[in-house]
């Protein structure tokens, strides 16, 4: 195929990808809702939920002997990780989250903080 035709196809391809991303972003913004609770998941299992309306500081300990730590801070209706002893510190650099569905992920410690709207998850077994 001719090179200029290929270049045209390249542009269409990039445009389609960006269009899909734009639609996704629009959907996210339209469906965005304020969250009320910060859910803590360790290795996919929810372990705790904290209300965003109460200022709070929690140390999340993971690993076999609790040697991994992430400090979750809830302040003025927003949640963020203030300190972590993971190697990359990506979670600690994440901006505070407050909208439903927003997440802060610490890949090395398998910890996920997710903003939710309810105090309990109906899909979750009533444990602890």
């Amino acid at each position: 195929m001719k090179n200029n035709k290929k270049a045209k196809n390249d542009i269409i391809l990039v445009a389609v990808i960006l269009l899909i991303a734009a639609i996704g972003l629009l959907l996210v913004n339209i469906t965005r809702q304020d969250g009320a609770f910060a859910s803590v998941k360790i290795d996919g299992e929810e372990t705790a939920r904290y209300s965003l309306s109460d200022n709070n500081t929690v140390e999340i300990l993971t690993g076999d002997n609790g040697e991994y730590s992430n400090t979750l801070v809830i302040e003025n209706g927003r949640a963020y990780i203030s300190e972590a002893n993971c190697p990359d510190k990506i979670c600690a650099g994440h901006k505070p989250v407050c909208y439903k569905g927003e997440t802060i992920v610490c890949l090395p410690h398998k910890v996920v903080i997710e903003i939710v709207s309810d105090s309990s998850d109906s899909g979750l077994d009533a444990v602890g």
């Binding site: 990808i17 996919g44 994440h94 901006k95 569905g101 927003e102 890949l107």
Partner: protein
């Protein structure tokens, strides 16, 4: 010189180039700490070169070697799972796109970049059972497209400059 020996030697050299590029990328400061995963995808330059000059099979071998050695040197089993998913999806789609002969290296590279991000996000969604990670994918597909265009242009230049290379 024996063609097979020459091919093997060249592929070995390209593999080491891919490793150096991966290392270079690893020591560069992250573009954004808020959205992990934004990167140039420099090693893809080497992979695209092999894909065009040697073919899909050799590209798969170089890619697999790169994944394994990078995991051994700088990573762990977890990072291997992420990079493997990204690389398999990326290389497969790049191979298909190249075969259609409808796109230049730019289109192939952009697809590779976005698919690499998608593969890693899919693993993260699977591991964390959190579909919300999909939000990241929106940002990553934009940054991936930009990185993909730059790598694609570079790959195009590289391939034109090495046209006389007998393999």
């Amino acid at each position: 010189m024996n063609t097979k020996v020459k091919r093997t030697a060249l592929l070995g050299m390209v593999t080491s180039v891919a490793l150096v590029l991966a290392y270079l990328e690893a020591i560069l400061p992250p573009v954004s700490t808020a959205v992990p995963g934004i990167k140039m995808g420099l090693p893809n330059l080497a992979i695209i070169f092999v894909l065009y000059r040697f073919g899909f099979k050799d590209a798969a071998v170089v890619s697999a070697l790169r994944l394994f050695i990078v995991a051994l040197l700088f990573g762990n089993v977890m990072t291997l799972a992420y990079s493997t998913a990204g690389a398999v999806l990326s290389l497969t789609l790049m191979g298909i796109l190249k075969k259609t002969d409808k796109f230049s290296t730019v289109g192939v590279s952009v697809t590779g970049a976005v698919m690499h991000n998608l593969g890693q996000i899919l693993v993260a969604v699977f591991l964390f059972e959190t579909v919300q990670l999909g939000y990241y994918m929106i940002i990553l597909s934009v940054t991936g497209s930009i990185a993909g265009v730059l790598i694609g242009i570079s790959a195009g230049i590289l391939l034109r400059r090495t046209e006389k290379l007998k393999i």
